[in-house]
């Protein structure tokens, strides 16, 4: 009982603190937002450095990393650059208008894949070869993105009460995530019979356990694929 009262008084204290400081407190203020973006995008850009050097550690989905890899292999960076840059642009606009920056499109794809593709296409490899430079490049880009967002917010959000269709995009984003599970089972079944069986079992078990079907399908495919390997050719 005493611990409960202690907790309640604790809450009251934190809540009053929040109310007073929301716009001035470092952790909530507008001016600190670019710093958080800079930290995150510094890490993400350095993750792309890891991928460039060690082939591990890119903060993105296989299909999007594959676009960058296609460029590294000599097939041209156009796809990765255009995809990343347009996502970055769209998400900066959307993020400042709705109050939530989508880090997947803006930082992970835009700064993590699009910008490296543009740099590599122009023959600039240093920010990707060097870890320290990668951290600095990412941080600088993040600061710019953060300030642009805060800037757009100042000029738009106060003048408009639109959410710019954020709810619609949220729904579509969730709906497309659901497709991944079945798609993995389908492509596993096309890869080989044992892998297909493995992914079916994994997906079914995960479904019963109320876990994401995609995870089970991958695990099942990998377990049976380890027993009955296939070649890359």
């Amino acid at each position: 009982m005493s611990s409960q009262t202690a907790r309640v008084s604790d809450q009251n204290v934190t809540e009053t603190v929040k109310e007073i400081d929301m716009s001035k407190n470092f952790w909530y203020a507008d001016w600190s937002f670019p710093i958080f973006v800079a930290l995150l995008s510094s890490g993400i850009f350095a993750g792309t450095h890891m991928y460039y050097v060690y082939k591990i550690g890119a903060f993105n989905d296989v299909a999007i990393v594959a676009m960058l890899e296609a460029g590294i292999q000599g097939a041209g960076y156009g796809a990765a650059a255009a995809f990343g840059a347009s996502f970055l642009f769209a998400r900066i606009l959307e993020g400042s208008l709705v109050g939530i920056l989508d880090i997947g499109g803006s930082l992970q794809t835009g700064i993590g894949i699009g910008v490296p593709a543009i740099l590599l296409a122009s023959g600039i490899t240093a920010p990707l070869d060097n870890f320290i430079l990668a951290l600095l490049t990412g941080a600088l880009l993040g600061l710019i993105v953060g300030y642009v967002i805060i800037g757009i917010r100042k000029f738009t959000v106060n003048q408009s009460n639109s959410t710019f269709g954020a709810d619609i995009m949220m729904g579509a984003g969730n709906a497309s995530g659901r497709f991944l599970g079945p798609l993995i089972v389908i492509s596993a079944a096309s890869a080989s019979i044992p892998i297909g069986i493995g992914s079916i079992i994994g997906a079914a078990v995960f479904y019963i356990w109320k876990k994401p079907v995609a995870g089970g399908a991958i695990l099942g495919a990998m377990i049976l694929g380890a027993i009955f390997p296939i070649s890359l050719e």
Binding site: Y28, V62, L97, I100, I103, F131
Partner: protein
């Protein structure tokens, strides 16, 4: 030696990413008053776990396996490390012993610090174990995950976003179709175009053609024109219409350092 190097870099990267993701996620709960970062689906999922530490942990774990498999196979963490694993695990650590989400999950300071710790562990684990796993497993990921993800990116996601735009009303449907189609022609994927179409359509629905929406559509058109030019779309268009490409256009492309066939 390379292992030590990877470990040190991973810890630095994990800490940077973790603090950003953790603080950004907590700030989302105060949006739109406070500018947050993360994703709408992250916010929804964090709410769906209803402040239950075990739910947050197992939700993160499901995606952790996914991320692990993808890292092993293709060196790609998946976006879920930032979107789901770090925020949910940070929340589950903070909320053990039944603490209220208002004092934990919604506090950028606590989420940032715990996120940094989780980030270090997760990134180091993924980078180190992935480099220690045999190549035969890589074949499976490449044969299974890559085709599935490619199907998702094209055509599944464009179609879903497009249908959502069509269902969202006349303006979104119209601009989504125009920009979505143009985006596929120019960039090879319709999603960015459809998203911009929805932004414009709903923006105009809600507040009419004001300064904000006019600036928005101008910048979107500018984006399309520029990316069309830089991807050589103008020249491909002329060629596929069996027209002669004028010399000055080729020179302009060359001047900007772009190869023209």
């Amino acid at each position: 030696m390379e292992v030590v190097e990877i470990a040190i870099k991973s810890i630095i990267i994990g800490a940077l990413v973790g603090i950003g993701v953790g603080a950004g996620a907590a700030r989302m709960f105060h949006a739109p008053k406070v500018q947050g970062m993360g994703a709408f689906r992250t916010l929804g999922e964090l709410n769906a776990c209803a402040g239950d530490a075990a739910s947050h942990f197992s939700f993160g774990l499901g995606f952790f396996f996914n991320a692990w498999a993808s890292s092993v196979g293709a060196g790609a963490f998946t976006q879920d490390v930032d979107h789901r694993i770090i925020p949910n695990w940070a929340a589950s650590v903070l909320m053990r012993k039944g603490k209220r989400p208002e004092d934990t999950l919604h506090d950028p300071k606590k989420m940032g610090i715990v996120g940094a710790i989780i980030g270090m562990i997760v990134v180091a684990f993924l980078n180190l174990t992935a480099s220690a796993i045999p190549e035969s497993l890589q074949a499976i990921a490449v044969k299974v995950l890559v085709p599935a993800a490619n199907l998702l990116i094209n055509p599944v996601m464009p179609v879903i976003f497009w249908l959502a735009a069509l269902d969202a009303g006349k303006r979104s449907g119209f601009w989504g179709t125009v920009f979505g189609g143009a985006a596929h022609l120019i960039m090879g994927n319709a999603v960015p175009g459809v998203v911009l179409g929805i932004l414009i359509g709903k923006g105009v629905d809600d507040s009419g053609w004001n300064r904000v929406t006019k600036t928005l559509i101008t910048s979107v058109i500018l984006l399309f024109v520029l990316s069309a030019f830089f991807r050589g779309f103008d020249i491909r268009l002329l060629e596929s219409m069996y027209l002669e490409t004028p010399g000055w256009l080729k020179d302009l492309h060359k001047l900007l350092g772009l190869e023209v066939k």
